[in-house]
Symmetry: C2
Subunit: 252 residues, 2 copies
Amino acid sequence: MIIDGKKIAEEIKNSLKKGFETSGKKLKLAIVQVGEDSISAKFIEKKVKFAEEIGVKAKVYNLPQDITTNKLRKKMAEICKNSDGVIIQLPLPEHINTQYILNSIPAKKDVDVLSENRSRCLTPVVAAIKEILDRNNIDIKNKNVVILGAGILVGRPAATWFINQGATIFVLRSSTKDISKYTKEADIIIAGVGKPNLITADIVKKGVIIIDAGGDVDPVVAQKASIFTPVPGGVGPLTVAMVFKNLLELNK
Amino acid sequence: MIIDGKKIAEEIKNSLKKGFETSGKKLKLAIVQVGEDSISAKFIEKKVKFAEEIGVKAKVYNLPQDITTNKLRKKMAEICKNSDGVIIQLPLPEHINTQYILNSIPAKKDVDVLSENRSRCLTPVVAAIKEILDRNNIDIKNKNVVILGAGILVGRPAATWFINQGATIFVLRSSTKDISKYTKEADIIIAGVGKPNLITADIVKKGVIIIDAGGDVDPVVAQKASIFTPVPGGVGPLTVAMVFKNLLELNK
């Protein structure tokens, strides 16, 4: 089964729209972009559009590429003060201390759950994964879960969440020798590397559940999988929806 | 090589003693025990003794087995207010919401790093593991690390830390089928299950590094390992020392 992430995101959007209407107040979401990366700009556009459609006021802050960590942190304090939710579009330029900047967002405004402040929300991509598994009544406990990549957006939060769910987990990275040894045993594969065709049909077992958050999976693998999320149109749109679910949840 | 955890702990103790003397103030460490478990009492005794030897004033709070979560949380607030560091001896009785109680300890007094509040310290057992690996110049990056067990004291913090160090990690649990498939490929094994002889010589490779935090490893495995921590006298004493290292660090 190929998951239609766009359709599920649409359903969530409609229910969120009602939720935001009921809450009465028009919430303000700040989206911070440093520099002018065009891929980042595209992701930001999607979030702004989603916001408009559900009655959230999104404001994009474009900051110069060469801003210092200290200046950005000061700017963040001001932005956080004036917003109900704050997103920092990653990656930040290399000279910036990313985690220090992310930690400037207080937990109750951290819709992306990327600061190290304790949050009651799930990281959006993890919430998207959970949504897909829940809708298909997948019991995670006792499953072999292979996570490819250990970045802060996908791999790390997914690893933590799956460990807490009682799964056996394998976190593989680009340095891992012979990933096929582990992918072949996997009941669930979460891919978040960003390397097209890293996962091919010959290295997974029949019936595997594949959640591709990095564009790492050869599309023909869908024929062998029991559940498969395509790129685009899979985890991506759902993850955007979950950002707004967090915004609503944190402002209840 | 068999690691002499007691000897290393003794070295750390001497350096901590100087550190606490220099700090001037006599620090107060609260140790909270709920109920009267005799194993817990033994662990507490070790910490009290360590405290005395380095000039820290340890106070044990014995609370009744049937205390409610709410009453315990209130009591914790009072204890935290009157102490420079706070330990809750685990496990708590089953009717208690453990994480809720742990979260009552502010980060700057949380020497065990078990609350979900952001901390600048390492969980003591992770600090002990790091100490052993550092002293033997082990490069963790690109290593295969197998972690047995996913509890909050050992498996989970160890998993998070090793992921952040760039290792390939495998978190196995009692439900995992055929652990030998993975232990045989492991460069480093961290055991935190509490099941004697779970790891035998036939399921590890020659030269493996074994850190046994759960008493899970057959002692003869030492002959096949390049680094081996015995139980008792391995990770245990070092972990106690790291609790006090955190206490000093947090009160600097």
